[in-house]
């Protein structure tokens, strides 16, 4: 009984810390509309900072607390709002989420760079050694401090949000920012207060939880998943329900950990991961039980999913394969192994285009689906293309099943549910010890997966060189598939469920079927990516976890999440040593890579359509200028010739290639009179030839651009109305 009581009190104390964290999360979401994925990371950095000033520099407890909770954290929040969050108005939920994910990675990278991991940094509990004896149970004062902090936060927030004009303004800002200004208040001040308070609450929870764990960056950051569950319990609005949720999660984990040892010894390894994943399970359960979101009428953002042309897609596919074939012979086996992940990562990135880019479903599980693909590929062990089919099938089915309960939900809830599923797989399913299915023993990841490379139509693809080129061929085919999807009626439906789900439903299309379909399809593509990843090097569980998946999403969004060029960017950046090599000797990129990715990611708010969209005009200019395009091809070929004959080494080769690309853009721009805009360029080239649709902004047609039949035809083409019109004509003629 004493054990039960003391575990219960411990559970409440842990729940109290989750409540503090979750209330900060709810506060920023409910008052600014941005779900801060980096909330846990802010708490983590605050805990490290507290250790720095209190333990390393010896400042007293009160001074350290004031410095972190009342100075550093609020200042960080204010800076965050002024420099980043304020610029996110008019962007989609995906972009906003990605910006906070960038922040998470940036802070994670920052903390690793500042406080090298592996060093023991003990943090004492508050009033360590003091216990309160109550009815036979011993309660450490730290737990009492946690409970008191949660109570103070609960009362304080209630008074602030419902009793003060500032608090009411903070809530009103979510409803209608411009109306707040018309009411004589400044919504930007409210947002600043929200972020400052949110960061302080994150810091408080970080400082309270750190002494009960080890002071380590990733576990502290991911602890936020526990708070997500609580926040969702309160539907990201209700603070009382958030507190209830936090207590439920606190108690569940406390009982789980407390009674794990009571299980039979042979069962314990199977249950341990389950206890770790309990908060994720609670989160999943709550999300599944949530009532269906109302279908949004129309979502207007400044993000555009441009329709890719077949010409461009084929050029990319050919360039990927030819580029790989040119590159592979230049590399040593060791280099090929380290660059081998490029195409696997690129395919996982590609899988994000239909589900996140087009349909706006924020799946954070793509790399987990890739994990299922890798497991299927390695276990079914068919070293031929059928192995990839199995990988696609298994991952597609898993993704479809994950999507089933999510079809009723939108936006952030999809992101959180998929994050919870990923955490469940990371912590429990994938690391499970061996078990039997029927009479066959099975283990998802027996240490690492065996590397399986195929024979195809009698061609041996087992060498690293052949395998690398084979991977690029798989990528190229899948990229063409994604372009075909985007150009198809299904692709139009995907964009429609992102921009106007209510309109889709009223048009008689099942939003649920489209969502499950796109999840299954994207899951299947990711599964192939996983198979390709595991065929390049021995795959382990950690390669497929949540933290590993976030940079891919981030680089995809930075590159342009609807563009098939972005996955190549993701593959090169994350799956090859190229960026590290380029910087070697000048800058320790490995150490700062995540921080840099984070910094780049937070800039997404400025250009939500990504780098690809920004580069597109440059590419078109080069393509339009035949002499420059020819010169570029000659320059690229010459550089490769110099490298293959070993006249130059890798460094100058990469430098020459980049110089050729940048130079051609510069030259094309110089040769084109500045006065001629791209739209004019297109009209000169002639729309009737169907080579490229001109870039016309529909709103401006007839206002700043002449309203010509050609322009209308081009718009119809861009909107897929031309073929629809033809179909109608054909069917009416037939009838």
């Amino acid at each position: 009984m004493d054990k039960f009581l003391s575990i219960t009190v411990g559970g409440f104390a842990t729940g109290a810390i989750y409540a503090v964290a979750a209330s900060g999360l709810v506060l920023t979401y409910a008052t600014t509309g941005t779900f801060n994925f980096a909330h846990g990371a802010i708490g983590m950095v605050a805990a490290f900072l507290y250790w720095q000033v209190h333990v390393a520099w010896g400042w007293s407890t009160p001074v350290s607390l004031v410095a972190v909770l009342l100075v550093a954290a609020p200042l960080f929040g204010v800076g965050l709002e002024r420099l980043i969050m304020r610029r996110l108005e008019g962007t989609s939920e995906t972009t906003r989420l990605v910006v906070t994910i960038s922040l998470l990675l940036g802070l994670l990278g920052f903390s690793v760079a500042m406080w090298a991991p592996g060093t023991n940094r003990p943090m004492r509990q508050f009033f360590q050694g003091n216990v309160l004896e109550l009815a036979g149970i011993r309660i450490p004062w730290h737990q009492l401090v946690s409970l008191a902090a949660a109570a103070a936060v609960a009362i304080g927030l209630r008074l602030l949000l419902y009793g003060t004009r500032r608090g009411i303004t903070m809530r009103a800002s979510v409803d209608n920012r411009s109306l707040v200004a018309l009411n004589g208040s400044r919504p930007e001040h409210s947002a600043m207060v929200s972020w400052a308070l949110g960061c302080s609450l994150a810091a408080l929870s970080g400082i309270l939880i750190a002494p009960t764990l080890t002071l380590s960056a990733v576990p502290l950051t991911l602890l936020i998943v526990n708070a997500y569950g609580a926040a969702i319990f309160g539907r990201l609005q209700s603070l009382p329900l958030t507190f209830v949720g936090a207590m439920v999660i606190g108690l569940a984990t406390s009982y789980g950990i407390g009674y794990l040892s009571s299980l039979p010894t042979d069962l314990q390894p199977y249950a341990r991961g389950l206890v770790d994943a309990l908060p994720a399970i609670v989160l999943l359960a709550v999300v599944w039980l949530l009532p269906a979101s109302r279908l949004a009428q129309v979502t207007r953002t400044r993000e555009i999913a441009a329709k890719p042309s077949w010409g461009g897609a084929i050029a990319l596919a050919v360039a990927s394969v030819v580029g790989s074939a040119m590159l592979a012979p230049l590399l040593t086996t060791g280099e090929l192994v380290s660059i081998g992940r490029l195409w696997g990562i690129a395919i996982v990135g590609l899988s994000m285009i239909p589900v996140i880019g087009l349909s706006g479903q924020l799946s954070l599980s793509q790399l987990t689906f890739a994990g299922f693909g890798a497991v299927a590929y390695a276990h079914l062990g068919w070293a031929n293309p059928l192995g990839l089919v199995w990988a696609a099938l298994v991952a597609g089915v898993v993704a479809g099943l994950v999507a089933l309960p999510l079809v009723r939900l939108q936006g952030i809830y999809v992101a959180l549910a998929t994050a919870a599923f990923t955490v469940l797989c990371d912590r429990w399913l994938f690391p499970l010890p061996e078990f039997s299915i029927g009479s066959r023993p099975f283990q998802f990841f027996p240490g690492s997966l065996p590397v399986v490379r195929p024979h195809l139509l009698g061609i041996d693809l087992t060498s690293p060189t052949a395998s690398f080129v084979y991977a690029s061929v798989v990528f190229a085919l899948l990229a063409l598939l994604v372009v075909a999807i985007r150009r198809s009626a299904f692709g139009a439906r995907l964009i429609a469920i992102k921009e106007g789900p209510a309109a889709v439903a009223t048009a008689g299309i099942s939003v649920a079927a489209v969502k499950v379909g796109v999840f299954a399809l994207s899951g299947a593509i990711a599964g192939i990516g996983g198979a390709i990843l595991s065929s390049s090097s021995p795959a382990t569980v950690s390669q497929f976890d949540l933290v590993a998946g976030l940079p891919i999403l981030l680089v995809m969004v930075v590159g342009g999440i609807t563009s098939v060029g972005a996955p190549v960017f993701a593959g090169v950046f994350l799956g090859s040593p190229l960026p590290t090599k380029l910087m070697s000797g000048h800058f320790d990129l490995g150490r700062w890579q995540n921080a840099l990715i984070g910094l780049v990611g937070v800039s997404v708010g400025r250009n939500p359509n990504g780098v690809s969209a920004a580069l597109n005009p440059a590419g078109r200019r080069v393509k339009a200028d035949l002499p420059v395009a020819a010169a570029l091809i000659v320059a690229l070929g010459t550089a490769w010739g110099l490298r293959i004959t070993e006249t130059i080494s890798n460094g100058p080769y990469v430098a020459l290639t980049i110089a050729a690309l940048v130079g051609s853009v510069w030259l094309a721009r110089r040769r084109l009179p500045e006065a001629i805009s791209l739209a004019e360029l297109d009209s000169v080239r002639g729309v009737a030839s169907g080579a490229t649709a001109p870039m016309i902004e529909p709103e401006l047609l007839g206002l700043t651009v002449p309203y010509t039949p050609e322009a209308v035809a081009a718009l119809d083409e861009a909107l897929d109305l031309a073929s629809a019109g033809r179909r109608v004509e054909v069917s009416s003629a037939g009838g």
């Binding site: 009411i168 303004t169 009103a172 707040v180 208040s185 400044r186």
Partner: protein
Amino acid sequence: MTTLLELRGIRAGYDGLEVLHGIDLVVEAGSVVAVLGPNGAGKTTLLRVVSGELEPSGGDLVVGGRRLNGVPAATLARAGVCTIPEGRGVFPNLTVRENLWMMTHRGVGRSEVEETAFAYFPQLAARTDQVAGTMSGGEQQMLALARAVVTGPALLLLDELSMGLAPLVVQGLFEAVDRLARAGVAIVIVEQFVDAALDLADRAVIISQGRVSSEGAPAQIRDELRAAYFGAA
């Protein structure tokens, strides 16, 4: 009469696309000016300029004798420019009482705000703790108008107050606006219900394609509109 609001050659637009091409308008203290015109003429843009939501790209926005180009909306609101924007001018997730508390910025206490508002609109008194978004459209506009009642502004800007409401409800709202006008509040009213707006107005302007195309007494404007729609008699 003193001039409260003066627009001199106001130019404004969105993303480089000019919507207003030089608007001149004078509103005397305590007078009611109806701004009429077809869809897309620039009426709402004009109100957005006056309320401070949109900075004009040219011309002068003069309120109370001071040029106030680029002054933020919140500052203008505190200075006595009250705007009821197009759509429902309330915060749908706040209760009636909390919506009213948002209006305490002019140094008026909470209880005073509630008292004044409920005296003007007794229907609201029974709904103090109801979430505004769950009220009928007419009640929501009443709550929005209550802002003008309790803050005692010098200038009230009304953008399509009647939009989507039944004629009987609109009549009630216009009576409230009339009471405000008689209490000396200057009002600029943009309205689809042309007759109701002209009944209320001391003066009317017609805006067409971002320019003032006609200006005069309500009776004169009524005749012009009739001629435009049905041809000269």
